[in-house]
Symmetry: C2
Subunit: 401 residues, 2 copies
């Protein structure tokens, strides 16, 4: 209330690491208009959200677990359910290896605080999920991109890079990988490569961060062992989430990691436990096999939408566009012919009424203009088909320009 | 799966600041047995949780706001409601000054990352809420305790300390204060001291962190202006929560701060926005004046429990125990006579069947053995009365030992 302004600068109080942060401008998020069919983001299909069962679970929690509305820890029922799922996958998960967080994005966001000093090397896949990669970059990580192909991360290229870095005296902190139904490529890492990747982690003392957000959305074929199940020494951090199998907006995910990592991540989690009411609600929903039945229904639903997208692509895209056929997940990845650039294509697509994620948004090193990611998760089947028809037309528009 | 163990140490990958963290042992939380009347913790009264209205709000969100279950930002309805409440208190709150988080504890836990390098001075009240103070200490803050009395923090002592520190060339980062219905003392900072405190912040370039968790739980008297309402330069960070006025287990709190602070805190918040479903649920509950009516009912309820506790203390405690008469909040603070130590009293109290928080748990510098905190928030009225009777008997037991 003093009319004399303080002689001090607020910004002089900021820590070194936050002084140079530039907060993003606060403004409305611009979203595609209703007339545009967006195949851009991996949103869940809202028609699959189990409204009635979530409401019933809420009613049960409010009736029977009222102390979850008080100060209370993360639901131990939920912890037990996650542990049981992990153990059924052959992972030696225990209470002291499991951390529940506000979405897997919270866990991934906490990792740099534990593992990355500015300049430390982090190995990422090209392409990858840049939402996570951005967190590593913000912490000052030196990102090195390892190529991927239809069988996932190229472990030979990874080994060559590890050897080269070791020669320079550099020990990378971790490899960030999405081994199953990859975002954005849809690829699944082969068993042979899984074994090799885990062995490389131990041999070079590099953590493997296994982001398995999509693993339960399997439309066909038998599951492969998770990297964590192949790891006996604690070099794998396995990150999972309820976002794809229940609802992203609930924000509940988890990590399984060596107790020394799990304990420190828990201490970096400023707010302590993860909402007792929220986690008990999820636990009540998941109980009695309900989650597993829901996942089965999701897989029937999403498989059909994948098939609609793939059939439309076969019908509508130029023949020299190469397409992956993912066995699960949310995404189809297309490799474009040399005369079609993803960023050039985008305005033609939007003019036709459809949008997608250009591959450049999936690489941290500027690659990707020869790829596009198409999400079949969110749009209804008829809009997927229409969107692909429009996108095929846009490709021809670009060629004929 | 290799039988050769890695030649590398996991712990060599940890950042400097996390290498020395000792994660707490993972084990069951020990709670008082059912036979013990706990007046120890500031839990909310579970009979006050608005089960039916929360269930109705959940039903409405699931029926009308289904996209809140998808990837979505923090509820803008909730942001608007919090802004309206702050603006009604004369605070110049805008969208770019408000950050919603998972409880005020998350916001307080993020503060050190923004403001505290190891060795930086943070000024705290004696006594204070050590849950928050612990976060500052973990970040390496040098804590300096400023005394408080029945009118809140001693601003003359604070000014003397600021002068002394300035002489040493030290600029403290912030003062952490609970100005209204203090935890643990129940005291409310006088208007005169409020003005002086805000002026000191600006004059010395020190932030004032105003934790006003209890401010809405006013049983009598007129509200005083918040420190944020008295601040025109952005030196006050006001932290608030739904924990005391709705339910702690929901984990929803907020901070109002200068945009340069708000923006950086948002970037330190690893998971990004705060649960779209959770925050929309709280927004739906709070709408249509329902929150304000609920707060009125809470104040009738908690006032009665405070009065039961104070009447029992008058009746049951030795006359030389000094007791505060808080005009709101959750706590009564008792100053013990010289021959009764809080830590000595505790086993006598537990033997009688009652427990409390010794004052030593409210000071960071070893003071407090002459004080105890009694929470009237959680226990039903009859248990409060019984608990105080038992505690009075324990005081006589200790004197007669």
């Amino acid at each position: 209330m003093s009319s004399t302004r303080s002689p001090y600068q607020l910004s002089d109080l900021f820590t070194a690491r936050t002084r140079t942060l530039i907060p993003p401008l606060f403004g409305a998020v611009t979203t595609a208009g209703p007339e545009l069919i967006s195949l851009e983001y991996g949103l869940a299909d809202p028609t699959c959200f189990p409204r009635d069962d979530l409401l019933a679970a809420t009613a049960t929690v409010l009736a029977e677990d009222i102390e979850s509305l008080n100060y209370a820890p993360t639901s131990m029922d939920l912890v037990a359910q996650i542990l049981a799922r992990l153990q059924a996958q052959g992972i030696a998960a225990e209470r002291d290896t499991l951390l529940v967080g506000y979405g897997s994005s919270q866990i991934l966001g906490l990792l740099p605080g534990l593992l990355v000093e500015p300049g430390d090397v982090v190995l990422i896949e090209g392409p990858s999920f840049l939402g996570a990669v951005h967190q590593f970059a913000t912490a000052g990580a030196r990102l090195i991109t390892i190529p991927t192909d239809a069988d996932g991360i190229d472990v030979e290229a990874l080994e060559a890079m590890l050897i080269e870095l070791q020669r320079e005296g550099i020990r990378p902190r971790f490899v960030y990988t999405i081994p199953t139904f990859h975002n954005p490529t849809g690829a699944t890492l082969s068993l042979e490569r899984r074994k090799k990747l885990v062995a490389l982690g131990a041999a070079y003392g590099v953590l493997i961060v296994e982001d398995d957000a999509y693993v339960d959305l399997r439309f066909e074929g038998a599951p492969l062992p998770s990297l964590a199940a192949l790891d006996s020494e604690g070099w794998v951090i396995r990150v999972g989430t309820f976002s794809k199998i229940l609802a992203p907006g609930l924000r509940v995910g988890w990590a399984h990691a060596h107790p020394d990592i799990r304990g420190r991540l828990a201490m970096l989690k400023a707010e302590g436990s993860t909402g007792s009411f929220l986690t008990q609600l999820v636990a009540r929903y998941c109980a009695d096999g309900r989650l597993e039945r829901h996942i089965e229904a999701l897989n029937v639903h999403y498989r059909r939408k994948r098939d609609v997208m793939l059939a439309a692509i076969d019908r509508e895209f130029p023949e020299d566009v190469q397409v992956t056929r993912p066995a699960g997940g949310f995404f189809v990845w297309c490799k474009l012919p040399p005369d079609i650039s993803a960023t050039d294509l985008l305005p033609y697509a939007e003019a036709r009424g459809v949008t997608f994620l250009p591959g450049t948004s999936c690489f941290a090193d500027g690659q990707g203009d020869d790829g596009i990611r198409l999400a079949f998760s969110y749009q209804p089947a008829e809009k997927i088909a229409t969107g692909i028809t429009l996108l095929g037309a846009a490709m021809r528009d670009l060629r004929e320009k």
